[in-house]
Subunit: 211 residues, 6 copies
């Protein structure tokens, strides 16, 4: 699992979130930051800027059997796939696909509204717009959402709107580093909540194990 930003605290949080998928005889899950990544991925420039560094890291990783790119914009996903015959998973793609197994229509909690057009465009690219109930923003910075005490309360507020106004039967957390809120949010909303990084790593573990 590669965190495309260089923030080691985020990477450590992701590592913690993935411990439940790390089985003794199962595939080893290695979590690393992208050294030359930005502190956070918030713009299209950040997304495109890490694409080739991610590919190079993946091409060089002779000892890995599959890769997970842990940013909800799935930066570099297609270029990385071009560079290796091994499976490469994006957390947005896997988070949404996993949500489709839990209810007919899904909602997405975005960090900021500025990301929503990019996400909608990506869902259309995947051909999945007919399953989208809605996407709504927390309107926090990534930093705020990571540290702020009010994050869970705001997620519950936004998730409730997605469920009650938009008809979402399952919620995808549209960011890599929020796994610690997953269960509490699920309990508060009464519908399944998907952490996309866990979803992607679960699919990677499965793919590698049966190969």
């Amino acid at each position: 699992m590669i965190n495309p930003n260089s923030n080691a605290v985020v990477t450590e949080g992701l590592r913690q979130a993935l411990l439940p998928l790390s089985f003794a005889e199962g595939p080893e899950i290695v979590c690393e930051s992208l050294p030359d990544g930005p502190p956070g991925i918030e713009t299209q420039a950040h997304v495109d800027g890490v694409a080739l560094p991610l590919r190079r890291r993946i091409e060089a990783a002779d000892d890995a059997d599959a890769f997970v790119i842990a940013c909800y914009s799935d930066p570099g996903l297609h270029v990385a796939r071009e560079g290796t015959a091994k499976p490469v998973f994006g957390i947005a793609e896997c988070g949404v696909l996993t949500a489709l197994t839990r209810a007919d229509r899904f909602g997405v909690i975005a960090i900021k509204s500025a990301s929503i057009p990019r996400h909608i465009r990506y869902l259309r690219q995947m051909g999945l717009l007919e399953r989208l109930a809605g996407e709504r923003p927390l309107e926090m910075s990534v930093a705020e959402s990571a540290s702020g005490e009010g994050t869970l309360a705001r997620m519950i507020e936004v998730g409730t709107q997605l469920k009650e106004r938009d008809g979402a039967g399952v919620i995808v957390m549209g960011c890599a580093g929020m796994a610690r809120h997953r269960r509490l949010l699920e309990d508060a909303l009464g519908v399944p909540v998907i952490d996309p990084t866990q979803a992607a790593v679960a699919m990677a573990v499965g793919t590698v194990s049966v190969a």
Copy 2:
């Protein structure tokens, strides 16, 4: 994992196929047949006939944390989900969704052409038709496809047509009991091949592990 038919040989084959996903500290994977199921699921009557028995089995299974219905028609999926708050996975749904992580458009190998309209209708229900490259039949009975020596050769023939004529970048085996051919078919075709039962159980293992 519940095989909705009563054929214990098929269930044993599925159990073998799932051994790679059975980790010592991971979720225990229990494979069982549906005692009152038909010998095979080949018609809509078979599909609808096992729906409520599957739901009853699932409602009664206090000791399971998630369920996989192991038939490529996903019988009883929605009625089972209505009967439990636990996750229920269908192998057709999970097989196709997993395929979407490996290429832009997928092909499906059906056992018989008579199933294809049912599958197309189901893909449209899931909102995924724009990603379908094509579906082509082996035109074998389930029994033939299970036992016959020519099955792999015929799968390679059909898979090649899906890849070369239809533009499929990944192949889904549209049947529960074909996992033993997966790797050979993948090697022959040069594109990823998804066994839907393995795909569904991998998603179930992941979901249970992070809950």
Copy 3:
């Protein structure tokens, strides 16, 4: 016409609603309840539970030339079609298709919000979501909606929202037993209102007559 529930009062109401389609030299319209049906169809378990009984009833009906399944969830539609070469009509399908002849986008009045995801999934299966303006619930039980005096008033309220907020140019009453409100609702809303049972029986009468 088979009412999949066992409620003879509902069946008698349907029979009354179909009298205008019963012509002396036209096809005879026989209305019956499904003896082993539940009192009402409100859940997926009810839907799936009547599928095979409906098919068996249809397979046994040597003297009928076409069948109408009179429940807005179209239970058993596909399995019944598999069991007979004669035409089988579902009222949800026919109600919506008939609505498409009256305006560009249609609205649906559901009895309860819990049915809406099932209806949306079914509209997607039919490939008709682009024509849906919206679906809104009365939020009444089937019993209340059948007997309550406030039903028409509530239907006008919900129908007005579908027309004015969602842009529906025609309304489908999303339940089998509401034909007696059709004309009053149409007059109040100023747009066509479709009773799905009448729509389906009209299509069945036509199909049988020209065969």
Copy 4:
């Protein structure tokens, strides 16, 4: 029922085809030609040329309760609807919608290939392209298809391609005046065949009867 061309022989053929839908106590079915229509509708200019004459005829018909425009291009359908509060049915629309009640995907037999782009555009306008299996032309003139002895044989040939190569489960005859071939074609193909004029008039009879 208005035949938008001025060919009285065609109109008389349509009248014959509609006799089975003319019930003593049912709505009277009056068939007429459009006096100022062209001999046949083969081009977009023909289609657009009859739109306002059709509307004027419909606005003037005080004694009719519903209208059917009997040309597979549905000329003037929307402008006629604007001009009256009474229902107006187009045979292409009704033929396709009726086909959707008989199988998952439909095929269309066109008279000439030049009409196919216009039909595809119209199916997209209706939002029904996902249900189209294919459209194939007889490549005959309307005159040939009306009189020629080889018409049925050619329809069987084209219908067989729609069924076997394109996967059509039901066939729509894409022309107003072919009802006399309907049953023979259905018997030859083994799938339902829809005559669009009969389909539209059946829906009109139903709508008028329950109003």
Copy 5:
């Protein structure tokens, strides 16, 4: 450029709006009214009534290399294309297509709500509904919107709703004669605003220049 209504003031306004596209060595842009057109195009009858007159005008114009039909309902577009091998552009089509180059989802400002179902149907015909954020009406007559002082203020109000509530990243002015508000509206909203007549003529100028 043909203004399908007979209002010379509107035509003169369009001519003014197109001056920036009239280059000395570029294609000459000739603006004319349709003499037998109505004073304004507000209904389907207006739309269909000018179709053949437009075609005849276009067929007779031996000295023109391309045509623009300057009404947001694109009257006669397909019948005109049938009548000439030269390119014919509709301003609704070109306005929307040009908008797609500026943002992921577009909003449309309609003059009156009565036009919206017609516009939605047309966008579905073009296969572009997935890119529509929303359409909202000024609810003015064409005359009011042309002369009234409050038009720009109302456009800003409606445009703001399209941007903020519906998520439009670009706005199309859904009428031929509003070019003089384009820049002011764009400045007020902070997103691109497309005048459809300018968009269509720009595409025509390009097509003619490279032919």
Copy 6:
């Protein structure tokens, strides 16, 4: 107009192809290569590799009012748009949108089959797949297609298949440097042929001129 590869011969060819759009009083069209671009854009790595260099070039171009990225993969389009308030046009986007003004369904001539999945994914992202008749490859290298004598003959062969087998009513040349074949190909096929660079620059000229 920026050619994202560093091949000055290609850029000079593009400059020639754009001369007809360069009007004395119109916007000046400046054509340049991307100095740090690869010799040609053939892979996803090439596409992603030029994204940020294109953005930086565009951000630095204070004297330009609009930008055209002249590669049929539209590299860097979204990241460039994020970096400037000025319009940025991609030739694939504009080529396809311009084609939609000429016929109902378009075909694309690709240089190599390996690009087709990338193009299909992009068309789905734009929401335009319902208008695609088909895409077929020349199966030549960019170098061959640029220099080879057989290029036009092969384009006619592939274009004929798109027209006759796939039903394309207009053809898009899926590469930046083929404008010199446009008219000959159009004459041979009898349907419009779009050069995407000319299409994009025409839209840019129009946008700048009316701003």
